[in-house]
């Protein structure tokens, strides 16, 4: 498989959210504003890229019985580094994200890619696969948060685009709306897939 194929497969054909239904918790939690979704997405891409690279580098050394422990450890290591970096260099962003950075550790996409790909492929391929999965995840987050922020706040990326005549849909601001939107997104993707087949 070429590098490009790995990326496309990981980001779209086998998209973590709409095909594998992974990482749903964070997709529900942060998608009511596009800015939060984007920063969360970037954090996940960064963590995925580096932890997949590292896990793949030492994959021949990791004993299979404790491999999940080792993977979690490496993932947590990078997330704490991100957290420290934000606190020391971008304190405002760190303040805004609050506990979400730490929650990247529990994102099951990362563990999923480690188990499914990084543990048996070369470091560079694993890194590309990680970035692909992260991009796919970020894409879904942005699609859903675009709809939620537009209807819930009348805004896009914090900029008010709909005037005061717009009645805000409170349901869009709350977590349940992400359930409906996510389900509709999966539905649309499935329909297109079946038409093609």
């Amino acid at each position: 498989m070429s590098k490009k194929e790995i990326f496309i497969k990981s980001a779209f054909t086998e998209n973590a959210i709409w095909v594998q239904i992974l990482g749903i918790c964070s997709a529900l939690a942060v998608t009511n504003q596009m800015k939060n979704s984007l920063v969360m997405g970037l954090g996940v891409i960064f963590t995925l890229a580096l932890s997949m690279f590292t896990i793949s580098m030492i994959r021949s050394l990791i004993p299979s019985r404790v491999r999940m422990m080792a993977q979690t450890f490496i993932i947590a290591f990078y997330v704490i580094l991100v957290d420290l970096f934000l606190k020391a260099v971008l304190p405002d962003v760190s303040q805004q994200l609050g506990p979400y950075v730490g929650l990247i550790i529990t994102n099951c996409i990362i563990m999923g890619r480690a188990e499914a790909f990084a543990i048996k492929n070369t470091p560079l391929d694993s890194m590309i696969d990680g970035i692909g999965a992260g991009v796919g995840y970020t894409l879904v987050l942005l699609i859903i948060s675009f709809i939620r922020e537009l209807f819930g706040f009348g805004a896009i990326f914090g900029y008010q685009v709909l005037g005061s005549w717009w009645t805000r849909w409170s349901i869009m601001v709350m977590a349940p709306s992400a359930f409906f939107l996510l389900a509709m997104l999966i539905w649309i993707v499935e329909i297109r897939k079946r038409k093609k087949a």
Binding site: N32, F73, I80, K87, G98
Partner: protein, 225 residues
Amino acid sequence: MKEKISFRDSRFYPVFFMIILSAILTFILAFSYQLSKDRVQMYQVLSLQTNLLDLFKGEISELNNKLINDYTPDEINKLYNKYITKRTLQNPLGFHYYEFIQNGNRSGYVFLVSAKGLWSTIKLLVAIDPDFSNYLGIKIINQGETPGLGARITEDWFQEQFTGKRFHQGDKFIKLQMIEEGEDPEADQVSQITGATVSSKAVITAIQDELETLYKQNFGSGKVN
């Protein structure tokens, strides 16, 4: 006959591996923490000083309509030392509060109060005039509420609406009422955030109930220093 197994296949290898991995990763983390510690702490002190000064921005002549965020850390530190005095309460012992002093006159107190929100403990600074009758302003400094819902307590309009509201008059403590977002608040009323009653209520609890306790224990009749 017993076959000799290599170290890689022995049951000690996983233990050995995890110990080495932990040692390496923990060392790097500890090292990065040491590197960033001073900066993180400097930002925390700076952020507290900025927030304290911002509560009195109308009274600081040096600011003349410039935003406090436009100042360098040194300038903020200088302004802080000029206007703000840190003091300590007797009850609870060691509790810090701040006084804003201009030309020898005290124009307000600032207390750090907190209350339980939906997910997190919300911490905020509340500034009050020297008579403890009206709020001068509030500043949320720490919260972990739902982004887009409870976290909107950090929006300017929500915080600014408390400025000038009554805290206490005579021997009566005012209870602020919450009204729906978008309606016009009257005296002793504040707008809550739609879909975030608990977070909005927590802010009010912090500035009313906790401040009331602090006031009664330290500043009530005859206790004012």
